[in-house]
């Protein structure tokens, strides 16, 4: 992960939490707003949560303690070391909470054409899926979708925004205990 990407990934956690809430507005899911996510570099302990942290196995636990998005370099779908670190935690969490099913959503920045970016988003989602499967998450629990450049996390037209918008989000679609 480049320096810039690491920086934005940290900010992305907060943004992602807000955006996810918005995206889920139509569904009967509720989750408290996350105000102060830990830095991305800090190793989380999803299976041994802090006593006062989110409820283990909850959506909030996944978002805060694990991280639901990984980020990509321009035009790339290869996983960066930072992305792998997040996905390692996702895989451990998903091995603990076996009933949870996920949808991996691939996204691209706006500096490409619509159809090509749909294909690029699909590649990113597939890269994340393949990695999670290699870490023991059953392929039957995973679906993938590409939103191309249609669902930006950050609406601005800056390098920073584009870095945030090149991502794959792991959405928990069913099987949460609460």
């Amino acid at each position: 992960m480049t320096f810039a990407a690491r920086k934005y990934a940290t900010r992305a956690l907060a943004l992602a939490a807000v955006a996810s809430l918005a995206a889920c507005a139509g569904k009967p899911k509720t989750a408290p707003v996350v105000t102060t996510p830990p830095p991305a570099a800090q190793p989380a302990q999803p299976t041994q949560p802090q006593a006062r942290g989110p409820v283990p196995g909850s959506l909030e636990d996944f978002r805060v303690s694990v991280g639901e998005r990984v980020f990509f370099d321009t035009d790339q779908y290869a996983l960066t070391p930072g992305a792998r670190a997040t996905l390692d935690k996702q895989a451990a969490w998903l091995r603990t909470y076996q009933s949870v099913r996920i949808r991996i959503e691939g996204n691209a920045d706006e500096r490409g054409t619509r159809e090509y970016n749909l294909a690029l988003g699909a590649r990113r989602a597939a890269a994340v899926k393949d990695y999670l499967v290699s870490l023991g998450v059953s392929t039957t629990r995973i679906e993938t979708v590409s939103y191309g450049k249609e669902r930006p996390l950050d609406p601005r037209t800056t390098e920073e925004a584009w870095a945030l918008n090149r991502n794959a989000r792991t959405a928990l679609v069913s099987g949460l205990s609460s």
Partner: protein, 436 residues
């Protein structure tokens, strides 16, 4: 759908066509036109008993169409000297020459006993002092726009030697809401922006519609079922259906030039390849098999070849293959990234989106990759679609960062860039063939 039903039920009956001498006035539209042909088109006369507004609206729309083409300049009615009172009497050519009119269009509307209106017009060559041709239509009064477009097409064709494109429609994606939660609806309108209507509700996102070249049918990509799928939409019946049972995301659909098949992209395990889906047999054929992204296929009008977008060489570029997928060759070698190729209905050119230097351009090149020309450029110019005569390209533009998208058209010459009015922000235009 109601307005469409009316439109087709009331389709104009061509009553008579007279074509005397070959026009001496002609326009060569292969060149750019800095001096468009001056045309006089007084408001059509209303015969006793006819509603004068119908004729006024028709002639105003004919003037607007010709003017928008960039090939003609409609002279101000206030400058006209002769007041035409009978279209069957030869005009006083000297009066029209004084105001520099080269062509004169006169017309008349007559109320018919069955409720319809007869609309007739004559085109005069002012310089040669002779009639070029004239036509008559009988239609319902509310169908005046179609008739005005048909008259415009007839005049355009007679004066340029090329088919017109005024009696056509455009399907597009109407956009609203914030960028992070954009609502995208399928919408359709006349090519000049009139009669807009929505085809989908906005509950789910739709992208990249394309018109059938042969039927009142659209193919597009929708998230209606959650997973992205290519759909078919019958405009006349309103019926929508998923196209085929594919084991992955399907996107980037285009009808084959004969309308019998849809070319599309299927993504499986992250890899995108191009398939052909026959619309009758529903058989699918794989056309590319490459670890790179292969997408955005567009067939040549003769059906023999397909241009597509692939990043197999490291960046998105244009490739051409035979219709069966054989002989895949790269054709774009300029400095930049090329995508969304669309083969001209004339067969002679391929339009594309090009990214270079942080900007997006619309350009054209010959099918062998030579003769590249850039027609437009901005922060984002994307998604070209051809007028059915292959002379005008429509696309969508975000003129500067953060500005929403809207539609534009530009001549093949790169001149005559014009906004296309839409009720909301708009993207992904697709031009219909000439209406039947």
């Amino acid at each position: 759908m109601r307005f469409l039903t009316i439109l087709f039920a009331a389709c104009a009956a061509l009553v008579a066509a007279v074509s005397p001498a070959r026009a001496a006035i002609e326009i060569d539209i292969t060149r750019g036109h800095l001096n468009p042909m001056p045309v006089a088109a007084p408001d059509f006369i209303a015969a006793p008993g006819a509603d004068p507004r119908v004729g006024q609206q028709i002639s105003a729309l004919v003037r607007a169409n010709l003017e928008r083409s960039g090939l003609f300049r409609a002279l101000d009615q206030a400058a006209y000297i002769e007041k035409v009172v009978d279209i069957n009497v030869q005009p006083r050519f000297a009066d029209w020459r004084i105001i520099n009119a080269q062509a004169l269009i006169v017309g008349q509307t007559t109320q018919l006993p069955d409720g319809r209106v007869r609309i007739e017009f004559r085109l005069w060559d002012v310089t040669a002092e002779q009639e070029v041709f004239g036509l008559q239509y009988a239609t319902t009064p509310e169908n005046w726009r179609r008739i005005a477009h048909k008259i415009s097409d007839a005049i355009y064709e007679r004066l340029t030697g090329e088919k017109g494109y005024f009696d056509t429609r455009v399907v597009f994606v109407a956009e609203s809401g914030p960028k992070t939660r954009r609502v995208k609806r399928l919408a359709i309108m006349d090519q000049d922006g009139a009669n807009p209507s929505y085809l989908t509700s906005g509950d789910y996102m739709v992208l990249t519609p394309r018109f059938s070249p042969t039927a009142q049918q659209i193919t597009y990509m929708s998230y209606e079922s959650g997973s992205p799928r290519v759909f078919l939409f019958n405009i006349e019946t309103g019926r929508q259906e998923v196209l085929g049972q594919f084991p992955g995301m399907t996107f980037a659909p285009r009808f084959s030039p004969d309308g019998s098949a849809v070319l599309l992209t299927l993504e499986q395990g992250g890899n995108s390849d191009i398939y052909r889906m026959d619309l009758r047999s529903r058989q699918r054929t794989r056309l590319t098999d490459n670890p790179g992204i292969d997408t955005s296929p567009s067939g040549s009008p003769d059906g023999t070849r397909i241009v597509f977008n692939s990043d197999r060489g490291g960046s998105p570029q244009l490739y051409v293959m035979n219709a069966d997928g054989s002989d895949q060759k790269r054709i774009s070698f300029g400095d930049g990234r090329y995508s969304t190729p669309v083969w001209s209905p004339r067969g002679d050119l391929i339009a594309f989106t090009k990214q270079t230097g942080g900007r997006f351009q619309i350009g054209v090149m010959r099918p062998d990759g030579t003769g590249e020309r850039i027609l437009s450029e901005s922060y984002l110019d994307e998604g070209p679609t051809w007028s059915p005569n292959g002379r005008v390209v429509m696309f969508f533009r975000e003129p500067r960062p953060g500005a929403g998208p809207s539609l534009f058209s530009v001549d093949l010459t790169g001149q005559n860039l014009r906004p296309v009015p839409t009720p909301t922000q708009a993207s992904d235009p697709a031009w219909s063939p000439l209406l039947p």
